[in-house]
């Protein structure tokens, strides 16, 4: 599975390892006192958390708790009203979503947002946009750098698709793929941007138990192979408790608990707010 990688991919992996050693304990994501108001409504308030270089963390909470809003803040879709976000030690204040991505934050979406008219392979190649080194003039005049860059891009895109078991559907239009495959393709597209952290918004939504089981392995494999951090929103408790090393629970835009899966499972505030009252179980 994870044996044969091209030179570029090895470089990326080793770069990530290198960064880890270099920065030591500098977290990939450092969020301080984050908050946002929509008019008079406070959607998120006082959100603090740090994610280490190869950590898998989970964000859970009841519907409408503000989970996706937090993801949108982390990726600069919304600009925060209060607080700061540091990606690899750099403050993302005022940056566009595209810039934040170039800093190393990639994401998937709750309601899948693939480029439906393009093939799976093209979707991944769009993800590699910023790493394809080929100028406007070269591609317009079809100079040698264009062919070289395209060839390398195809090769790497196929490797990435293969990594998630999607090599067979490389030529299929993304819009006509089954739901579970589309979810995985979104993850591949996010990986293609060479992120240092990847945000997964309900990756298991709409998947059957077998697919979810498979996804759990894949999430761990992504972390192990690419040495990146993963931060995920999920309603499937089995997945969250099994995969995540740290969990943050939010309700009404505020953190109500933080800790390891064991701690969260036994936290009375969580049980009351999220899992329901003990008597009902």
């Amino acid at each position: 599975m994870a044996e044969k990688y091209s030179r570029e991919m090895v470089e990326v992996i080793s770069k990530n390892l290198h960064r880890q050693q270099d920065l030591g304990k500098v977290p990939v994501l450092d969020v301080r006192n984050l908050g946002i108001d929509f008019g008079g409504l406070t959607a998120v308030d006082g959100f603090n958390m740090t994610i280490g270089p190869t950590e898998i963390s989970g964000l859970i909470g009841p519907n409408g708790a503000g989970k996706t809003t937090i993801f949108n803040l982390l990726t600069s879709v919304y600009q925060p009203t209060r607080g700061s976000i540091l990606v690899n030690g750099i403050n993302t204040k005022g940056m566009t979503t595209a810039k934040v991505n170039r800093l190393g934050v990639a994401r998937t979406f709750q309601n899948i947002r693939l480029f439906t008219d393009m093939t799976a392979l093209e979707n991944v190649k769009v993800g590699m946009h910023n790493s394809i080194k080929c100028g406007f003039i070269s591609s317009l005049l079809r100079l040698p750098p264009y062919f070289k860059a395209e060839k390398e891009a195809n090769k790497r895109a196929m490797e990435l698709l293969d990594f998630m078991g999607l090599a067979d559907v490389a030529d299929t239009k993304a819009g006509s793929l089954p739901y579970g495959v589309q979810r995985r393709l979104e993850i591949v597209r996010a990986l293609a941007t060479n992120p240092s952290i990847i945000l997964l918004d309900e990756p298991a939504a709409g998947m059957n138990p077998t697919e979810t089981e498979e996804l759990m392995h894949q999430i761990r494999r992504i972390r192990d192979t690419f040495q990146i951090a993963i931060f995920l929103i999920e309603h499937d408790m089995n997945l969250v408790m099994n995969v995540c090393e740290g969990i943050v629970v939010v309700n009404y835009g505020r953190i109500i608990a933080k800790g390891t899966p064991e701690q969260i499972k036994n936290d009375p505030a969580v049980i009351e707010a999220y899992l329901g009252k003990k008597e009902e179980e």
Binding site: T97, N101, M118
Partner: protein, 359 residues
């Protein structure tokens, strides 16, 4: 690596080039052999110009997914720049092809600059608002040229927005006379040059579509938020498509103007923009070959129906509606499919009957 989809696009692109080249060779042969009627001969260059306009607009409307109603404005910028440049160098550059090429390049560059200036504020808008604002900018560009006076004498070139402001020395000549437009243009446009312009346009547009830039532009059209999330600078790529499109429209405009003895600003109005848009829509959004074919057909239909006088626009409208129904309406598509299946069945039955007789 074998990628099916790449093969398919390569084949379509090849077909597009082949069709254009074959059409040119045939038409050039016919026109040299005097096999074309005089009016047909006259349509050749305008058709080429409109093909370039349709293909370049397709880049904005079909590939980039932004409805622009000001394409004639950029064509006008190119046309008047071309006329002015050709007028200025009328005596200095003897070679007509060279003068034409220079006019076209200048027309294209200025139209591209206009596209850039218009694009920065306009591309922040989406959907209907973008359409309305591009329409307005198209009219503004048209009116600027409708009020521009350019004169040339021994002392140099003079620009002004009123006829009194220009005082030419003895022997000076007016190149552009405001609302009257330019008259006495030397016709230097030729069919081969028009053909080369189509090839350049196809080369630029097709190469752009099938590259990293083209993928980014299509990604923005398909899903803006997702495109941003993978690190694509949305405004920059929309602008690239818009400016490229304006540049090509400007080149086409210069060629168009230099094919007539006179042009005036009212030729580049809203109706022209809509006409080009109709070519694009009927040829299929994002379909370059479709744009070429639909432009040729839709340009010729009203011209060939000239004998029917008043009825020709009615027939033109009916043709538009029929084509739209056939290509878009699901019911008609279904009907066509049913008919196809029936025809196939018919043949199958015949085969079976034949088989049984033999057996």
């Amino acid at each position: 690596m074998r990628i099916k989809n790449d093969r398919k696009t390569q084949l379509t692109n090849f077909l597009t080039y082949a069709l254009v080249i074959v059409a040119f060779v045939i038409l050039q042969y016919m026109s040299e052999g005097k096999m074309l009627t005089k009016s047909m001969q006259g349509y050749l260059i305008p058709i080429c110009v409109y093909i370039v306009l349709a293909v370049s607009l397709n880049l904005v409307v079909g590939i980039s997914g932004e409805l622009s109603l000001g394409h004639a404005g950029f064509m006008g910028v190119g046309a008047f720049t071309g006329v002015i440049i050709a007028g200025i160098f009328r005596d200095t550059i003897d070679n007509e092809i060279l003068r034409l090429a220079l006019s076209m390049v200048c027309g294209g560059v200025l139209a591209g600059v206009a596209g850039f200036v218009v694009g920065i504020p306009v591309l922040r808008l989406r959907g209907d608002y973008l359409a309305i604002v591009t329409l307005a900018f198209g009219e503004i560009l048209k009116n600027i040229f409708g009020n521009l006076y350019v004169g040339k004498d021994i002392n140099g070139i003079q620009f002004a927005f009123s006829s009194e402001a220009i005082k030419l020395a003895e022997g000076g000549k007016m190149i552009l006379k405001g609302p009257m437009g330019a008259a006495g243009i030397k016709k230097i446009a030729t069919f081969p040059v028009a053909f080369v312009l189509i090839l350049i346009t196809l080369f630029v547009v097709l190469n752009l579509i099938n590259s990293k830039e083209g993928r980014a532009i299509k990604a923005i059209r398909d899903n803006r938020i997702a495109a941003e999330s993978v690190g694509i600078n949305v405004t920059a790529f929309k602008l690239k498509a818009f400016v490229t499109s304006a540049f090509l429209a400007g080149m086409a405009g210069a060629l168009f103007a230099l094919n007539y003895s006179s042009v005036n600003a009212s030729q580049f109005n809203f109706n022209t923009s809509i006409n080009i848009l109709v070519f694009v829509v009927l040829g299929g959004m994002g379909n370059i070959l479709g744009s070429i074919i639909s432009t040729t057909v839709l340009y010729l239909v009203p011209e060939l129906l000239r004998e029917l006088q008043d009825y020709r626009m009615i027939i033109y409208a009916i043709v538009l509606i029929v084509v739209m129904l056939v290509t878009w309406s699901p019911k008609v598509k279904q009907m066509i499919q049913v008919v196809q299946v029936r025809i196939k069945d018919l043949f199958k039955k015949k085969d079976k009957k034949g088989g049984s007789v033999n057996g």
